[in-house]
């Protein structure tokens, strides 16, 4: 692209530049630069200026159980995704078999995170775009019942996490071999009662968001998600794609890699043959449609939007709401089938080797790979969050979408572009310890 000179010297004639210096209503700090020449997008770049925190290095020297606590702090919105990916990685390496009831509790915990994260995004971060407000608080002036329903759903997710893990942000009970403590059945009674309402609210959510008209976009991208024949993917499954990839959850590196992309210094994830791909609710409801809870499958069918979700990322709000319903319905079933195990965890012995796994975070496939010494301490780590994998797809979608907003006034065009980024529910805090920063080329005019 070689557009660096243009950025530094200002836009030449015939060229138009859109800047979003700080993308709001996302987790973390990022900006967008989009350059257009003669109606053609020449550059679409989501930039990250979130401060690096070096997690891959911080976990060196730590034990598996310490890693579980530390990597949670990569993201306050999806700490369980990080804990789960790490715990499965270490259990796989240490050949620990957890009993089915522990496996079910972990799914329940992941349901809790999915509910709170998706309710947060659908209602507090994304809905204001559709209804025309700068924030959910502003939206509540006119649509109080909608915001209250979102908050009530989010609260159910947080209750679930709190029962299992002590607190909604950075819960504390996940340990290698199981949990530090498991709940009694009666501990789950209050949240079980709330889940009946939550199922009904999330059914209403699917109908509501399906009724909102999104900006037009016809741009299907390759999809990647975990797939498990018997369950909707959270903790377990094989990595599959719409292009035929099929890998064990620890073997992410066999098909994907982190690459430098011309014109930026950001590391993006690509397939080995250079393709960008899309993760998250859109990918999962498409690749794992047959594993949706019957209530969620029925709600998705009733929207008639299955194909539209596949081609227009703005419809991710529908996919996310279908998953919200799935998580509420499955959580209810899991609680109904729960009997406390005698022991909260099984013993384990660390061994040297590679501990690698992937799980489905609310925003998509999350991959961890640790090299471990014979004391059980990490010597090297790689963590690949969903947002850094989605970054290529975001930029490709921006390039496909931008021509449709060029005739709009600047502020409206910029709003539309920002809305598209938000449709991905990007988590920049997650991505940052991984993405390269471009502070060096971060010219003053881009910073504003």
């Amino acid at each position: 692209m070689g557009a660096t000179d243009g950025i530094l010297t200002g836009a030449p004639a015939g060229e138009r530049e859109f800047n979003v210096p700080y993308v709001t209503r996302v987790e973390g700090e990022g900006s967008l630069v989009l350059r257009v020449r003669d109606g053609e997008v020449t550059e679409a770049r989501l930039k990250i200026f979130e401060a690096p925190r070096y997690f891959e290095r911080l976990v060196v020297g730590r034990t598996g159980d310490e890693v579980i606590d530390i990597v949670a702090r990569i993201c306050g919105i999806c700490p369980i995704a990080y804990q789960m990916t790490a715990v499965h990685a270490f259990e796989d390496a240490y050949q620990v078999e957890v009993p089915p009831v522990i496996r079910a509790l972990r799914r329940l915990l992941y349901c809790g995170e999915t509910i709170q994260s998706h309710a947060l995004h659908v209602y507090l971060l994304h809905a204001p775009d559709y209804l025309g407000y700068p924030s959910a608080l502003a939206m509540a002036q006119d649509h109080r019942a909608v915001v209250e329903q979102g908050l009530a759903l989010k609260k159910v997710g947080n209750q679930l996490i709190s029962v299992l893990g002590g607190r909604p942000v950075h819960p504390i009970s996940v340990r290698i071999g199981g949990f530090s403590r498991v709940p009694w059945r009666r501990d789950l009674d209050a949240v079980r009662a709330a889940l009946d309402d939550a199922v009904a609210w999330s059914q209403a959510t699917v109908r509501l968001v399906a009724s909102w008209d999104p900006p037009a976009l016809e741009h299907p991208q390759p999809l990647v998600a975990l797939h498990h024949p018997a369950e909707y993917p959270y903790n377990d499954g094989r990595i599959v794609s719409s292009d035929g990839i099929d890998l064990a959850p620890g073997d992410w590196g066999d098909a994907f890699e982190e690459q430098h992309v011309e014109g930026t210094n950001a590391l993006h994830a690509r397939t080995h043959d250079g393709k960008v791909y899309l993760l998250g609710p859109t990918a999962r409801v498409t690749l794992d449609a047959d594993q949706l809870h019957p209530l969620a499958a029925e709600a998705l069918e009733a929207t008639g939007l299955r194909d539209a979700i596949r081609t227009n990322i703005h419809r991710s709000i529908v996919a996310r709401s279908v998953e919200l319903l799935h998580a509420c319905a499955e959580a209810r079933d899991l609680i109904d089938g729960y009997r406390s195990p005698r022991e909260p965890r099984v013993p384990f012995t660390p061994r040297a080797g590679v501990a690698a796994w992937s799980t489905e975070a609310p925003r998509g496939l999350l991959h961890h790979r640790y090299e471990v010494d014979d004391q059980g301490c990490v010597t090297h780590a790689r963590i690949v969050p969903p947002t850094s994998q989605n970054q290529g797809a975001i930029e490709a979608d921006l390039a496909a979408f931008a021509p449709s907003v060029l005739d709009l006034p600047d502020h409206e065009a910029v709003h539309r572009l920002e809305m598209l980024i938000r449709a991905y529910d990007p988590c920049i805090s997650c991505a940052t310890h991984f993405l390269d920063l471009r502070i060096v080329d971060d010219g003053a005019e881009e910073r504003i």
Binding site: Y22, T24, R25, G28, E29, F49, E50, A51, P52, R53, Y54, E56, R57, L58, V59, V60, G61, R62, T63, E66, D69, I70, R73, C75, G76, I77, P79, L120, L124, P134, S135, L137, A138, R144, E148, L151, K154, K155, G165, G166, R167, P168, V169, H170, I172, S173, S180, R181, H260, N265, L267, P344, C377, V378, S429, D436, L437, R438, I439, V440
Partner: protein
């Protein structure tokens, strides 16, 4: 009530430095009170949740995250001039957070370990608490902060009184909760005796030792506790790793880590290039 209602709405900002966003999320997690808070406060700046932006001035500014880049170091000084009351929220802003463990190591080693092109990474050689840079009026502790303490802070600023946040060890919360001491009964090492309460003794209640995420309590006798841990034969590194967590950079914990040769993974085991004193 009418007197309170007649007050002008306080101008509030919520900003972040280097952090995970979890403490800001704790504000959004006050689900039952959030809309009422919106009625009582003018939330002018909260980019995680609102597209409206403001550069102040603020009656109250909540700051999440530690200071880790040159931009943040400049920004916090600028923000301080615009904030009547500046409150740090969480272990990162108040103590440096987990990322402050890199303060024991050569920054270049860290950059090179994570990034293919470390020369493009503009970050300071340390991650430090906000109070190292500007005057802080109040601190909320915890990783993450306690929703109850956040609620108390917001209520107190709304009515113009001092927040009433209990200063006591996690041990007292265990006693009040009726949790059997995990250290006495099971021999699990626990930072409860030297850690501020606020979590409700969560970890011991869940069968674990406290890992100190609310930071050291006042006059914490960390020397004595670390010698108790050492007496169980866990070695310097085994003791250091207990303190080298989310508030390890807080001075009473830092002293123990220094005495025991630095946090795990931070220092070369044999070569001894600079030992634990690589910080600037």
């Amino acid at each position: 009530m009418t007197a309170i209602a007649a007050r002008p709405r306080l101008r509030v900002g919520i900003v972040k430095m280097a952090s995970c966003d979890g403490c800001q999320l704790t504000l959004l997690d006050l689900e039952d009170e959030l809309l009422a808070l919106g009625d009582r406060f003018d939330i002018l700046e909260f980019p995680e949740a609102s597209s409206l932006r403001s550069s102040g001035p603020f009656d109250v500014l909540l700051v999440e995250g530690s200071i880790s880049t040159p931009e943040q170091a400049a920004e916090i000084i600028e923000l301080r001039t615009k904030a009547r009351t500046l409150v740090t929220i969480g272990a990162c802003a108040s103590y440096g957070g987990i990322q402050a463990l890199r303060n024991w190591s050569d920054h270049d080693v860290f950059r090179a370990a994570v990034y293919a092109h470390p020369e493009y990474i503009e970050s300071l050689s340390t991650a430090t608490p906000v109070s190292d840079h500007v005057k802080v009026d109040a601190e909320l502790h915890g990783c993450p902060i306690s929703p109850d303490q956040l609620r108390e802070l917001l209520v107190s600023v709304a009515v113009g009184r001092r927040p009433q946040i209990r200063e006591e060890a996690v041990c007292l919360e265990c006693k009040r909760r009726g949790t059997v001491c995990v250290m006495v009964a099971q021999g699990i090492p626990c930072l409860g005796p030297v850690t501020q309460g606020g979590c409700g003794a969560l970890c011991p209640t869940y069968g674990r030792g406290c890992y100190g995420c609310f930071g050291p309590r006042e006059q914490a006798n960390t020397g004595s506790l670390s010698r108790t841990f050492a007496a169980t034969g866990r070695g310097d590194l085994g003791v250091s790793r207990l303190f080298a967590g989310f508030t390890g950079w807080a001075p009473p914990f830092r002293e123990v880590i220094d005495e025991r040769g630095g946090p795990p993974g931070m220092t070369p085991v044999a070569a001894g290039e600079g030992g634990g004193d690589g910080r600037h």
